[in-house]
Structure formats: C-alpha cells, structure tokens
C-alpha cells in the first residue's frame, strides 16, 4: 500500500492541498496570535500546524471544511505545546469561573452600544486576550471565524452545549471588561451614561 500521507504521489492533489491550506495562513496566524498572545510563539504554532497538516493530509477529506480541520490541528497543538495537555475534562469549566460569572450578573454593568464604538480596537483585542483560554478559543472560532456551534464543537472536541455555555460566559466577561475599560478611561460614567 502506498503511504499517501507521507509521500503523496498525486502532485496535482498535492498542489491543490497546498494552495488551499496556504489560503488560510493569515486567519490561522491571527488565531495563533490570540491564543498565544506572542508573535514568535504564534509563528511557531502556525508553522507546526502546517507541518502536521502536511503529514496528516491523508486524513483530510477533500471538499470538507479545511479551515476547521486546520484550526483543530492548531488548537490541539496549542494545548499540547503551551498548556501541557488538552483540556478534555469538561469540569475545567467550573468553580472559579462560575463564581466569576455570578459576579457579572448585574445588568447595569454593561456598556451601551454607542459607547462600544469609542473603544479602541487594541482594547477590544486585549479584552479578548484576557479571557481564559477555554473561553477565548470559543470566541475565536464563533465570533471571529464565524464557525457554527457544530463546527466549533468538532474543532474543540466538546458537545455543542459546552460551546454555548463557554460562549455565554465569555461574552458576559467581554462585556464586563469593555464596560470597565470604558468607565476607567472616562468614555462612560459608572452609571452607564454614554456621554
């Protein structure tokens, strides 16, 4: 049997695979930056992702979602390399983060829509990067990359319900971070006035 994954013989197919894969470079790099928060580590992570993708291209089914496939590889590498293992235990969601969530239930502690427009882009990125990794990666997949819950769940290897609960908490925390920034920087007063 020809070892397709290691020594592809179909050069056209190889070319198509490479073309499609390289087309996701910018989006993968931005994702890697958000995950690692470090440009050098992001480069390493992306390069390793492509090396692994190339090695396992035999497992990629042409016509399926290559972006999701690449993100799944990158996400798993990120946890393996930088976090000492994948978070396959759903209970990681619990405890401290539930407590945090509970403290965020004050409905007045959210910024108004017009206030958001006055927050600098780098502050929004900072707020995203402050999220715990488990929440950050869901925001990255669903909000930045536009993945469906199902595709995000496949990338992360968790049930759709877990995607939803992490997303809810992440967004709540994001709103809080943006509100705090708006308050501290004088864009909005504590009581929620947009003026």
């Amino acid at each position: 049997m020809v070892p397709v994954a290691e020594h592809p013989v179909d050069t056209d197919a190889q070319q198509r695979f490479a073309d499609e894969a390289i087309g996701y470079l910018d989006t993968l790099y931005r994702g890697a930056l958000r995950l690692t928060r470090d440009p050098a580590q992001a480069e390493d992570l992306v390069q390793d992702t492509y090396v692994r993708a190339l090695r396992y291209q035999g497992s990629y089914q042409v016509g399926t979602n290559m972006k999701a496939w690449l993100f799944a590889i990158m996400r798993n590498l990120f946890w393996d390399r930088f976090k000492g293992g994948r978070p396959d235990d759903v209970s990681l969601d619990g405890d401290g983060e539930f407590a945090l969530y509970d403290t965020l239930k004050d409905p007045t502690a959210v910024p108004e829509a017009d206030v958001l427009d006055r927050i600098a882009a780098e502050e929004v990125v900072r707020a995203v990067e402050k999220l715990p990794e488990l929440h950050r990666e869901v925001v990255l997949l669903v909000d930045v990359e536009g993945f469906s819950y199902k595709d995000a769940a496949d990338v992360l290897g968790v049930p759709i319900g877990t995607v939803m609960s992490r997303l809810h908490r992440a967004r709540r925390q994001l709103q809080r971070s943006l509100y705090d920034y708006a308050s501290e920087s004088g864009i909005v007063h504590e009581q929620g006035s947009g003026s």
Binding site: A21, Y50, V144
Partner: protein
C-alpha cells in the same frame, strides 16, 4: 415568549443558530420589548466589534516563505 425565554435564546439568535420558528418568536418579542431589544443590540455590537478588531493583520512574510518551502 417572555423576556426570560427571549434572553435565553438571544445568543443563538445572534449566531443564527435558531430554527425559523424560534427566529420568528424572538423577532416578535424584540419588536414589543425595548429592554430585550437593547440587550440584543448590545450583543450584536460586541460580536461585530470582536470580529472587526480581532480579524486584522496578516501573517509575516518570512513565515509565508517558510511555509511555501514546506508545502510545495
């Protein structure tokens, strides 16, 4: 639909993950409920802001060159 049901569905509404029937229910509620409409607008706004702000910038050229050598 009451406000609690609406808010519970808002994330999925924003993410286009509801069925057509559910979308119609949420829409109807939002038309009649300014507080829920405000919550909805905020969620849409934050989602859009995150997308716009985090989706900028290209990969470094030296990385692109290295990957071309690896891939081709």
């Amino acid at each position: 639909m009451n406000c609690r049901d609406c808010v519970e569905k808002l994330h999925r509404y924003v993410d286009r993950e509801l069925t057509d029937v559910e979308v119609a229910e949420v829409k109807r509620h939002l038309e009649d409920c300014p507080p829920c409409e405000e919550t909805y607008q905020l969620q849409v706004h934050v989602k859009r802001l995150v997308k716009v702000c985090c989706d900028q910038g290209a990969a470094p050229e030296k990385l692109r060159s290295r990957l071309r050598q690896i891939l081709y």
